[in-house]
Symmetry: C2
Subunit: 245 residues, 2 copies
């Protein structure tokens, strides 16, 4: 095990939301590999690195590049925004690692948008929650729809990643229509955009309003459970301490 | 808004898993409030602070103390291990904040055990997942059981917090019995204990074996989805890139 790949979650965007472990991994790396939107956020603070940027959609090629650079003796960090384990590159790196038995993989966790978005909105995740991506590129629509229904039936707080994209503008509307079969129209919802980056924005709204919202792929959406309320200006899910004492 | 409370997630345990934002908040604080198991991990790196430690079970009192200290002009940081928004103190602080309109609340997110545990085990959360606490102190058993069933029906990867405690040793066994109605006995599972701290340990096992496991309250449990496999020595949920290309 001489070769080394760090799989690093870089959090929402700002360097201040990196962990010390993530900073240390990026400091050690010779080469940083990732999607340009996210590598661009690192260049100012990690200027003396070789950057390899590959577009979205070329994930297998991006991972293969990491193993190839690593086998040349370079320390490689492949970065995902948020956490590399949550819809990120960690899974694919591990899947391909069997072909490169001399490469050690070190995963360094980061703050995923469910966590950072919740902190911006208040405390919507203080009880059980489900995280679902609406992107149907890799998961069949029927499977996503089933998960939306089960999450609603289970009264989870629900976090939606990839609520819409330029090509798929109606995924969020369809998801809300499913939720409206189970929840009242004024169910507390919220969304956050560009967390920790320029253009950061948060909005509280009802499920009915969410159905018609026009969002981007940089948005994370929160659907409250039946125990989620707006209180003191924030969205929070009651944990239940007040019942106990 | 002169008074200030930081609600800080301190991550799994080691200082190196703090974010720079969390470190900055703790640096600014005069007083750090929390459960002693977690404040003890901070004392070496933040020695010149006043520490106020309250036992588990006295959450409302702990939050009230924060507001009282803050109104005396002290900068207060209330800490939760992991993330303060996930089964942590953020929700209760916001709920009580209406009584203290001069206090500004700043939540600083941290790495919750679902994220850090997943990184230790491999990449089990690379597709949709549900997070459920088995503690029935604040949530009725029937509600927990319903969520376990819906998460299983939805084929989520499932993360269990508080799988057992000294007083409630059979919660995990009951949860596994529910899962066994939906899943095969050899469903891939894993658990992690004392993440980032002395005694860190990870174990891969089948659902049948998990049913009889003897764990502590410092353990986080992962139940794979139907797409979770053991591959190249780790637990991973396939994201689906290999199907696409």
């Amino acid at each position: 095990m001489d070769d080394l790949i760090f799989v690093v979650g870089t959090g929402p965007g700002s360097i201040s939301a990196l962990t010390f472990d993530a900073k240390a991994a990026l400091d050690k790396a010779d080469t940083i590999v990732g999607y340009p939107v996210y590598t661009n956020l690192l260049k100012k603070d990690f200027p003396d690195k070789e950057y390899i940027e590959t577009p979205m959609g070329s994930e297998i090629e991006r991972c293969r590049l990491c193993f190839e650079e690593s086998s040349k003796g370079k320390k490689v960090a492949i970065v995902s925004s948020g956490d590399a384990g949550v819809y990120g590159m960690a899974s694919l790196i591990y899947e391909m690692s069997g072909d490169y038995p001399d490469t050690e993989i070190v995963t360094v966790p980061g703050l995923t948008a469910a966590i950072t978005g919740a902190a911006l909105l208040g405390a919507p995740l203080s009880n059980d929650f489900a995280v679902i991506s609406l992107s149907d590129i890799l998961t069949p629509k029927e499977k996503i729809e089933k998960r939306l229904r089960k999450a609603a039936e289970g009264d989870f707080t629900i976090v939606l990643y990839n609520p819409m994209s330029r090509k798929r503008r109606d995924n969020l509307r369809k998801a809300c229509d499913i939720f409206l079969e189970y929840m009242e129209e004024d169910r507390i919802c919220g969304w956050v955009e560009n967390i920790g980056r320029e253009g950061e924005r948060k909005v509280y709204l009802s499920l009915k309003e969410l159905r018609d919202a026009d969002l981007t792929m940089f948005t994370t959406v929160f659907i409250g459970s039946s125990e989620t309320v707006m209180k003191n200006g924030v969205m929070l899910t009651k944990r239940g301490y007040e019942k106990k004492e």
